[in-house]
Symmetry: C2
Subunit: 323 residues, 2 copies
DNA sequence: TGATTCTGGTTTAACGATTAACCAACACGA
DNA sequence: TCGTGTTGGTTAATCGTTAAACCAGAATCA
């Protein structure tokens, strides 16, 4: 492998001069700099980041801790973070924390042991990651006091709730996957706020909740709002087994705008978060923290966007058995 | 931060002794070793991996290059690799290669510049990653000559093809997403082989292919075999719009066994790959390569598993309009 | 002319861990 | 009593890069 030493020896000059030339530190004549650069080019010299990291005390690597890599949103977050990090010459080391908070702490410790300059954490549902020795950016939800940047899950819930209310629905079921999740609680809270005083609302959770849906629909519920697209697909399946169709018998919404939302029939109305912007801000804040700026006092909230498709329609009173 | 120097100074001994004590190199008396370890514990000493990496010439980090991190299979691969790597004290640095081969080469170079000990590559469709300066393990498909380890996509296609043939289907459509993908070509090839001489087969690709399906079904095709679960969901949607149902009018299969396969109605018959085992082998081979063993002459193939659910049923001649 | 300031370098000392080479003291066998 | 080990350390070099401090010669200034 080529090194500064190598180049220095070839040209007959000191390593310091080579280093200065290649990093534009001044102190080197034009001609000498040119010769050095030429030789470096020839040898295909690439600075050794490990040595540089040792000297600088920074590795240029961020750790990314995800609650569960099978989270369907993970790929998009990872990709956006990876892009944003790349743009600043940072690398991303991944670790997952297999479903429990203890493993999450372990993952964080392992990453720190590896010398990461900072930690990006999407916390385990219902867990509170301990403050760490390195700058940490938490991506969760506004209601989490540790949150640094996140989508406006409450606002997103509000958007889709209003969408449904505006369409005339007066009897609505809200379905969450897991009540322990802050994100899902916030989404539900937003929906609730939008429907407040405009519709009768019933909240239910998980597989048990899904099982009650056919009955609720035949009893007059005209819309089911879920906290995730995959949950919505599951709901549609259950309703279909009971002979109920979307949006004919009931309007249905998801959350996150995964590819499957567009592949469903009918295409699913949902809420999209601006993952790129969240990632961009997360990395920007991280860089500030690494540069020594104080942590922001309150979390940033990135707006969400309603994606209205064909799984939601205006309430048809005719479809109501009471008439 | 605590260092060997720190501990050495505290105890009044040389750094070398501390290093020897903490890494069990002998040359240190029982009592001294105990004192050193105790002090290290007190200080919460963690060896600096960067310094160690510089000295050893190895970083203990592998680079993972994925064609597109939004690939729905990514989380599972990443998680399995991450686990397998963890078990050997290796870290995983991610990079994505945004849809084109040039970016793939860039990503590989960036990772190498970062000093990774090896590269795990899931190649871009239809691209041939250049051999690199570090050990490289390619995860693709058996028909790719560079492949190191992969699922038996041909075998998986065969399994699901046979499943369909055994159920009496004699007029089958095979649908791929992108003809340029080796993986998808292999899956199709496997299906073809299973159906050879047992059914009439028609292969089509992409959105145009999907558009022709309703007509093909009304013309007698009784099963549609796709190369991915998401594609299958899309097919089901298109068929539903045309008033055709699964599995009543036509049997349908996916590939990969994503969570959505189970959420669909009916639950989707599909083929599961043993991602854990693929990842385990990939990491094992990588470690061998890093340890200096010669690259295996031929790729390893990990069996796939048929997951038969309710989207496939025996062919019902009654449903055939010709009768 | 003597003091000052550039210019274009060089030397030297780190960063933290590892490791080869060396060394004092003590024990043991011949 | 003299080699020969063994035990338990120490010193010093090294990995590749950076940066502070130093320095010789030329140019500038009063």
């Amino acid at each position: 492998m080529s090194s500064l030493k190598q180049i220095a020896a070839d040209i007959g000059v000191s390593v310091a001069t080579v280093s200065n030339a290649l990093t534009d530190k001044g102190r080197v004549s034009k001609e000498m700099a040119a010769r050095i650069r030429a030789r470096a080019e020839e040898l295909g010299y690439r600075p050794n980041v490990t040595a540089r990291a040792l000297k600088r005390g920074q590795t240029g690597i961020l750790g990314l801790v995800m609650p569960d890599l099978t989270n369907p949103l993970f790929p998009r977050i990872a990709q956006s973070l990876s892009d944003a990090a790349d743009a600043r010459q940072l690398g991303i080391l991944i670790a997952d924390s297999r479903r429990n908070a203890g493993e999450q702490e372990n993952a964080m410790r392992r990453l720190i042991d590896r010398g990461v300059d900072g930690l990006l954490v999407v916390p385990q549902k219902g867990s509170a990651p301990e403050p760490q020795a390195v700058p940490t950016v938490v991506i969760n939800t506004p209601s989490d006091p540790r949150n640094t940047v996140s989508a406006d899950h409450v606002g997103g819930g509000y958007l889709i709730g209003r969408h449904i209310a505006d369409m005339g629905h007066r009897n609505v079921v809200l379905l969450g996957g897991d009540a322990v999740s802050d994100v899902q609680q916030d989404r539900i809270a937003g929906m609730r706020r939008a429907l407040q005083g405009r519709a009768r609302v019933c909240v239910c959770w998980g597989a048990d909740g899904i099982a009650t849906l056919p009955l609720q629909v035949t009893n007059g519920a005209s819309a089911v709002l879920t906290t995730s697209d995959l949950l919505a697909l599951r709901v549609q399946s259950t309703l279909a087994s009971a002979g109920l169709s979307v949006p004919g018998d009931v309007s249905l919404t998801g959350f996150d705008d995964l590819p499957l939302a567009l592949a469903m029939h009918p295409p699913l109305s949902t809420v999209a978060q601006d993952v790129d912007r969240i990632a961009g801000r997360a990395i920007a804040i991280m860089c500030d923290l690494i540069a020594g700026q104080p942590a922001p006092v309150s979390g940033e909230t990135i707006p969400t966007r309603l994606v209205a498709r064909q799984s939601t329609t205006s309430f048809q009173p005719a479809a109501n058995p009471e008439t």
